[in-house]
C-alpha cells in the first residue's frame, strides 16, 4: 500500500526557505510517498512557547491538532519544530484536559530524516563529485527530537561525501528563535564561535537540518565574506541524488 503523510512546512520554511521545503517534499515523492499539504497550516508555536506565552502557544497547538486530524504521520523537515510538536506540546498540556488528544497528535510527529532513514529505510545513489562536508547539529533536534543520527545516516549513504565532525558540534550556534533577536550581540558571539569551529575543519560546506541555524550561521558567514557555505540537508541530498552541482 502506498504510504501517505501530512507534510508540515514550518513557518520559517514557508516564509523564507521555500526551495528547501519543495526539495524536502520531492525527497518524499521520489520514494513514492503521497504527500498531503494542508494549505491552512501555520506555525508550531515555538516562538511564543519559548518566550513564555503559554496561553497563546496552547491556542496554536490546538489549532494544529484540529487541522491534522487524520491518522497519518506528520513529517516535519526540522528537528526543532518536530521536537516542539512531539515533545514540548506534552509538557505544555501536562495538566490540561486536552492532554490525550494532544498526545495522539504528538505521537504522529516525526522529523523528515527519521522518516526517510528509519521508516522508509531509503537507499541513495550519490551522483555528485567527491566532497568533504561538515555538519551542524541543531540543539532541539539533538536533545529533544533526537533526529541527528538519522540525518547523519542519510549523509553517510552518499558514497562520495566525507563527513568531517566539528570539534564542538554540540554547542549552540546562537539562533534559539527569539533569542537571536532579543540578545543579538550574544547570539552573534555564539555564531562567531561556531564559525571558527567550522573554519578549523578546513571544509567548505556546512550541512544542517535546521533552517533557523542556517539563517544564523550562513547569514553571518556571508556577512563576513567567507568562502564557506551553509546548505540545508534536504537541498544537499536532492542535489547529490540528481547530480546537480553545488
Amino acid at each position: 500500500m502506498m504510504k501517505k503523510v501530512y507534510f508540515y512546512a514550518t513557518c520559517l520554511g514557508t516564509a523564507a526557505m521555500q526551495e528547501t521545503i519543495l526539495n524536502a517534499i520531492k525527497l518524499l515523492r521520489r520514494e513514492g510517498v503521497e504527500v498531503i499539504f494542508k494549505k491552512n497550516q501555520t506555525c508550531c508555536s515555538q516562538p511564543s512557547f519559548n518566550s513564555g506565552y503559554f496561553k497563546e502557544s496552547k491556542r496554536v497547538a490546538l489549532y494544529n491538532v484540529d487541522l491534522f486530524e487524520k491518522d497519518y504521520p506528520i513529517v516535519v523537515p526540522s528537528g526543532s519544530c518536530a521536537g516542539m510538536m512531539s515533545h514540548d506540546y506534552l509538557e505544555l498540556f501536562k495538566e490540561d484536559s486536552e492532554f490525550e488528544r494532544v498526545k495522539e497528535f504528538s505521537s504522529r510527529v516525526t522529523e523528515l530524516s527519521q522518516y526517510l532513514d528509519e521508516v522508509l529505510k531509503v537507499e541513495y545513489e550519490d551522483k555528485g563529485e567527491p566532497l568533504k562536508v561538515t555538519w551542524h547539529s541543531n540543539c532541539h533536534a539533538l536533545r529533544i527530537q533526537k533526529s541527528i543520527e538519522a540525518s547523519k545516516n542519510l549523509i553517510k549513504k552518499l558514497k562520495n561525501v566525507e563527513l568531517v565532525n566539528l570539534e564542538y558540534e554540540e554547542e549552540c550556534c546562537g539562533f534559539g528563535g527569539t533569542f537571536a533577536v532579543k540578545e543579538p550581540e550574544i547570539s552573534n558571539a555564539m555564531a562567531r564561535a561556531k564559525i571558527q569551529d567550522i573554519q578549523n575543519t578546513g571544509v567548505k560546506y556546512l550541512i544542517s537540518g535546521d533552517g533557523g541555524c542556517l539563517l544564523n550561521i550562513d547569514g553571518t558567514m556571508r556577512k563576513m565574506g567567507l568562502d564557506v557555505r551553509g546548505l540545508h540537508l534536504y537541498d544537499f541530498l536532492l542535489k547529490r541524488l540528481e547530480g546537480v552541482r553545488l
Binding site: 514557508t14 508555536s45 511564543s48 513564555g52 540543539c139 533569542f179 564561535a193
Partner: protein, 473 residues
C-alpha cells in the same frame, strides 16, 4: 547595577576574559567527559539515584530538619535558624560580638555570598577574609565570584600575578607554583591566631547530625579545625537523610564540577573538640537559613532546583555563560542554575532580565547531575515574567505590554489559515515581525547588523500545488 545591554556589551568586548573563559570551560568539559568515561559504569543510574535521594529529602524536609537539629545538638553542635538573608548575617555578627572577635577567615561558601555576609560585616567595621585561592584573588580585586565553583576562572595567571604584586606587594610572577606560594604565605600569616572560621556546607546528614565539606586546597580544613569557633552556613535544602545519600552526591559532584574523580579533601564534621581530642574547634555552630527556599519548595516546578548540588556543570556547558561571563548576570548565582534560582531568591524585578541569557539549547539539563530540567524551568520563569504563571516568584509584577500584544497577534494569525497564508505568500512575514516587535525588541536592525537576510523569491503555496502527487487541501 548596570543596565542589561550595557554590561553585556562591556563583557562581550572583554576579549581577554572571553578567551580565558572559553579555554577554561572547554577544559572542564573535556575533563568531565573523560572521568565519566574512564571511571563510571552507570553514570545515568547514579544520576537517577541522586535525584531520588534528593527528592526524598526535599519531600520530607521538615522532618529532616527537626531530625538534624536533634542529632547535631546531641553531637554538641549549636544549631541556629534564620529565615532571611539578614537574619543569617545578624546571627553570625552576634556570635562574633559575644566573643569579641573582629576578624573571620572564610572557606569557600556561596551561601555567604548569597546573604551578602562580607558586606554586612564590613558595614559593622568587621573583617571577613577569604581563604579559597580563587576567592582570595577576587577579594583582592574587589570583585564577586564569576562562577560558583571556580570563582576567578575568568582571570589568567598573568593577571593574577599582577594582582598579587599590586595588592600583596609580592614579586611579579606568573608560574602557578610561585603564585600558589605567594597566596600560601599570605594566608598562613592570616591563619595565625585565628579565632573564628566560617565555612559553607555541601551536605548535612540528618540521621548522623553531621555535615560534609569537600574542597581541594586544605584551606577549608584550616578554617574548620584551626580556630576556636567554627560557624557553618547552610541553606536548608542541603539537609539529606543519610550519610549514604550524601556519598552518592559527592560521587557526582566533583566529576561534574572539575572532572576530578574525588575531591582532594573530605571534611566530615561531627561536632566540636571532645575531651582528649588534640585539636578541633571548641565550638561548632551551624546556621540553617531559608531565604525563600520554602517558597521554592512549595512550587510545583521550581522545587526541582533545590536539588542543586552547586557543581557548576550547567555553567561550564552554557554557550552564553562563556561569552559574557558570570558578572553579566549581576547576581551571585550565574549561568542556567542562576537563571532559575536568582529570580526565586532575590525577586523577579531584580533579576528577571537574566532569563534572556538562554537560547534554550538544553545542554544544561543534559549535564545536570541531579537532573534539574533547567531549560524547562527557565522557560516557565519566562511565563511567570510575562504574567501568565499561576504562582510566580515575588517581584514578578511588571510585564511587557508591547511584547504581549505582539504574541497575541501572532496567535491570532497562527490560528487563521487564510490570514496566515495571505501574509506569508506575500513574503511579508519579516515585515510583520518587524512591525509587531519594534518598540519591545531590538529586532531587524540588529539581526541584519550581523547577518545577511535570506532572499525570499518564491510563493510556496503556488509551487507546492505543481508537484505531482501532492494533495493540496
Amino acid at each position: 547595577m548596570k543596565a542589561h545591554e550595557e554590561i553585556v556589551n562591556i563583557k562581550l568586548n572583554d576579549t581577554q576574559m572571553r578567551e580565558n573563559l572559553s579555554n577554561a570551560m572547554h577544559t572542564l568539559q573535556k575533563n568531565r567527559f573523560k572521568v565519566i568515561e574512564d571511571k563510571f559504569q552507570d553514570w545515568q543510574g547514579l544520576r537517577n539515584k541522586a535525584k531520588q535521594a534528593k527528592n526524598n529529602a526535599l519531600m520530607s524536609l521538615e522532618e529532616r530538619l527537626v531530625e538534624f537539629e536533634k542529632n547535631a545538638t546531641k553531637n554538641g553542635i549549636k544549631v541556629h535558624w534564620a529565615s532571611s538573608d539578614e537574619d543569617a548575617c545578624e546571627l553570625i555578627y552576634e556570635i562574633m560580638k559575644e566573643n569579641n572577635i573582629s576578624k573571620i577567615l572564610k572557606g569557600k561558601s556561596m551561601a555567604s555570598e548569597e546573604i551578602g555576609l562580607n558586606h554586612y560585616l564590613e558595614k559593622k567595621g568587621l573583617k571577613a577574609i577569604e581563604t579559597d585561592l580563587g576567592e582570595v584573588i577576587i577579594q583582592l580585586d574587589g570583585e564577586v565570584p564569576v562562577h560558583i565553583v571556580v570563582p576567578a576562572i575568568h582571570k589568567n595567571r598573568y593577571e593574577i600575578g599582577k594582582t598579587f604584586q599590586e595588592k600583596l606587594g609580592a614579586e611579579l610572577e606568573s608560574e602557578p607554583e610561585k603564585l600558589n606560594a605567594i597566596a600560601r604565605k599570605y594566608l598562613r600569616d592570616e591563619f595565625e591566631g585565628l579565632k573564628l572560621g566560617l565555612s559553607g556546607v555541601n551536605f548535612a546528614m540528618s540521621r548522623e547530625g553531621a555535615f560534609w565539606l569537600i574542597e581541594n586546597e586544605g584551606n577549608g580544613r584550616m578554617c574548620t579545625t584551626a580556630p576556636d569557633i567554627h560557624i557553618a552556613l547552610c541553606g536548608i535544602e542541603k539537609v539529606m537523610e543519610s550519610f549514604e545519600d550524601a556519598a552518592t552526591m559527592v560521587h557526582l559532584l566533583t566529576p561534574s564540577a572539575t572532572g576530578q574523580f574525588i575531591p582532594t579533601y573530605n571534611n566530615i564534621i561531627t561536632g566540636p573538640r571532645k575531651n582528649g581530642d588534640l585539636d578541633g574547634p571548641k565550638e561548632v555552630h551551624i546556621v540553617l537559613f531559608d531565604h525563600h527556599r520554602s517558597d521554592m519548595l512549595a512550587h510545583k516546578d521550581y522545587y526541582e532546583a533545590l536539588r542543586c548540588i552547586r557543581c557548576g556543570a550547567c555553567m561550564n556547558f552554557c554557550p552564553v555563560y562563556d561569552k559574557i561571563g558570570g558578572h553579566s548576570y549581576q547576581t551571585i548565582y550565574p549561568g542556567p542554575i542562576g537563571e532559575v534560582i536568582s529570580p526565586n531568591l532575590f525577586g523577579m524585578d531584580k533579576t528577571g532580565d537574566i532569563l534572556n541569557f538562554c537560547s534554550l539549547c538544553g545542554r544544561c539539563s543534559e549535564v545536570c547531575p541531579v537532573k534539574i530540567p533547567l531549560a524547562d524551568l527557565i522557560r516557565k520563569l519566562r511565563c511567570d515574567k510575562v504574567g501568565q504563571g499561576e504562582n510566580p516568584p515575588f517581584g514578578a509584577n511588571e510585564h511587557n505590554k508591547m511584547e504581549a500584544f505582539a504574541f497575541s497577534s501572532f496567535a491570532n494569525l497562527a490560528t487563521n489559515g487564510n490570514k496566515w497564508r495571505f501574509s506569508l505568500s506575500k513574503g511579508h512575514y519579516f515585515n510583520w515581525f518587524v512591525q509587531n516587535f519594534k518598540g519591545s525588541l531590538p529586532v531587524i536592525k540588529k539581526w541584519s547588523a550581523f547577518k545577511e537576510l535570506p532572499q525570499i523569491k518564491k510563493d510556496l503555496y503556488k509551487e507546492v500545488q505543481n508537484i505531482e502527487g501532492v494533495i493540496y487541501e
